[in-house]
């Protein structure tokens, strides 16, 4: 049961006259429902119900003068407390009006605790935002279906301009047209596994790298019989890297930065029925020919039975394609981004070689060095190849 006392209806008036009761005893009443009209010296004020429940008793009749703080109405709410956050409950039972915290209306009250973190002021970190572009340019990009976040702006402060958007649209329109070569009727087979990986890395290379290939031969006439060609080729790569470190490492086109490496970790392309697999020989620069041969045999074995771990195939700094065991003399090997260069070696041949005073027949290894001309100069590549050849031509 709740008793509602006549509140101070404002401006300190001590009493009010009941004009109309809008509810009768026994009525159901809801919170905020119009309950009665009272007339003060200034105006007729409409008083809403502070509770939901059933009207148990009206303490005054229409026309009565009621003093502020005296009981007006009893409402049976069916439970002990008023709804949280609603009007305060006058302490009718004690016969004295509680402080409702206001002279007019009803003050929402709760004991809810506010827990907040409030950071004062700014961090002065402007400038690290997203794309800068005028609304008209954003609208243009939306209309043309271009993701403005992928356009690098050429305007003031890196702003994307309308021309940038149009240029991006033109480039985007040209690219898919070229790629749309349709297959004739048939049953296409989706590339899987190593072949799929090859397709991806070769496509990336095609769209990124500016390749340039140099051809030359290494005369291995002075070699002792039974010399291990692959480990000699690896040693020659190390010699090339020492002479010209610019070919050993990585290049990132987005940030236009290169990262040259001291380590020489060489990926070796191995042909398998499932496609090209490229395991890595690590730390080539500090291994003997014998140690390299052990590594190579292990890798070859694991490659054949497909047990090469994924981590054995990544993070290499240079690539060797020893294709010549089958056929082919020279090639244009394809650089695998983000690396910078690849050396291809063709099959060893007996060539007629002019020597002082005549012609001799010497075994020679044909070499093809492809480098990414975006970050390597022709001079650097030639010096690399010269050093590699000089190393290969040594007797042991």
């Amino acid at each position: 049961m709740k008793t509602f006392n006549l509140p101070d209806l404002g401006e300190g008036l001590q009493e009010a006259e009941i004009v109309t009761w809008h509810v009768a005893e026994g009525d159901d009443i809801r919170t905020d429902q119009l309950m009665l009209s009272v007339e003060t010296a200034k105006a007729v004020v409409e008083v809403p119900s502070p509770y939901s429940g059933r009207v148990a008793r009206l303490h005054a009749a229409e026309g009565d003068l009621v003093e502020v703080g005296k009981p007006l109405i009893d409402i049976d709410t069916g439970e002990g407390t008023a709804a949280a956050g609603r009007a305060t409950e006058p302490a009718a039972e004690s016969g004295k009006a509680a402080d409702s915290g206001t002279v007019v209306g009803s003050m929402p009250v709760s004991d809810d605790e506010l827990v907040e973190t409030a950071v004062a002021g700014s961090r002065r970190r402007r400038g690290a935002g997203k794309v800068k572009a005028p609304p008209a340019v954003r609208a243009l990009a939306r209309k043309l279906g271009v993701d403005i976040g992928r356009i690098s702006g050429t305007g003031k402060g890196g702003r994307v301009t309308a021309d940038d958007v149009r240029h991006a649209t033109a480039t985007a329109a040209a690219a898919p047209a070229a790629a749309q070569a349709k297959l004739p009727p048939g049953t296409p087979e989706r590339l899987r596994g190593p072949r799929r990986a090859m397709a991806q890395s070769m496509t990336l290379s095609r769209s990124e790298v500016c390749p340039c290939t140099i051809f030359d031969d290494a005369d291995i006439n002075k070699w002792a019989p039974g010399e291990d060609i692959t480990s000699r080729l690896l040693r020659a790569i190390v010699a090339g890297c020492r002479a010209e470190p610019a070919l050993n490492g990585f290049y990132d086109s987005a940030s236009m930065s290169r990262q040259l490496e001291g380590r020489v970790d060489v990926a070796i392309a191995v042909d398998t029925p499932d496609g090209l697999i490229v395991p890595v020989v690590r730390g080539v620069e500090r291994k003997s020919a014998e140690a390299l041969r052990v590594d190579l045999d292990g890798l070859k074995e694991r490659t054949r039975n497909r047990t090469v771990a994924p981590e054995e195939m990544k993070d290499f700094t240079f690539t060797l394609s020893n294709f010549g065991m089958m056929a082919g003399r020279y090639a244009t090997p394809v650089v695998v981004p983000p690396t910078i260069a690849i050396l291809g070696s063709g099959g060893v041949r007996q060539d007629l070689v002019p020597v002082l005073g005549g012609i001799e027949t010497h075994p020679r290894i044909p070499l093809s060095l492809t480098f990414d001309h975006r970050c390597v100069t022709g001079g650097e590549a030639c010096r690399f190849l010269a050093a590699a050849i000089a190393d290969l031509e040594r007797p042991k």
């Binding site: 206001t102 209306g105 506010l114 409030a118 950071v119 402007r126």
Partner: protein
Amino acid sequence: MAKVTLIEAITMALAHEMTRDDSVIVLGEDVGVNGGVFRATAGLQERFGPDRVMDTPLAESMIAGLSVGMAAQGMRPIAEIQFMGFIYPTIDQMINHAGRLRHRTRGRLSCPMVLRAPFGGGIHAPEHHSESTEALFAHMPGVRVVIPSSPARAYGLLLAAIRDPDPVVFLEPKRIYRLQKQEIQDDGKALPLDVCYTLREGEDVTLVTWGAMTFETLKAADQLAKDNISCEVIDVATVSPIDMETILESVEKTGRLVIVHEAARSCGIGAEIAAVVAEKGIYDLEAPIQRVTGYDTVMPLFRMEYQYLPSVRRIVDAARRTLED
């Protein structure tokens, strides 16, 4: 540490500063014997005496004028206006004297007064007791307008306002006077004026608001978070001068801005914020700025007042509009 409501935090700050500084005077209608219509000054006259907590006649222009005079002569008056609906007679004093005293005397005199008033709707008060007309004062040069939105900021910002050497109109959102409690230490530490307070950090939309509307705005941010829309919520706190740097910085991050205020839309402070973002942050905007405000009409009588006040639903809808393509 005590858990106190916003109105109790006001009383705490007033008492703290009156204890610390003898030049602080409280004056207004019923602030003394009665303790104020909302109890902001309850008990102060008993503690500090009738010379420092003065009941005045019902004459708001006089209350403001008296405060200007006292402030010019080295006191720190804090005048209370019972409701924002009664504040308009003070405008002459505030715009013609308080705001320009420093300029008029070439810096010889300043006017360290605070004009306190409860404002805003939501307590079912009679006609003309519920408006939010902070923009009237924000348009006055030389007058600072400060609006707290939590007990902690009510305490810290009121202390800063009293200590500030220039006039401050301190508007108190009465709907949240007793809505929540917060732990506050009565340590006399002021909070900085003229800066926004970032209440929540987010990535997708910036919600800027002040006063009682922070309550609905935070609820809207909660709702949007359920749909993985991350909102940054900024309480402007000092609505004149506005710390635009914080708002611009946030818009640069999110690219989207929703301004929420209880006041009528036209020429509201939201319009000023939107204008500055258009001037200085337009290259960051990914969607049109949205305003969620009261309407350009007389505030309705109390049964309709929640139709007028921005709701959580309206704020959520506006935020979603900024994310539509």
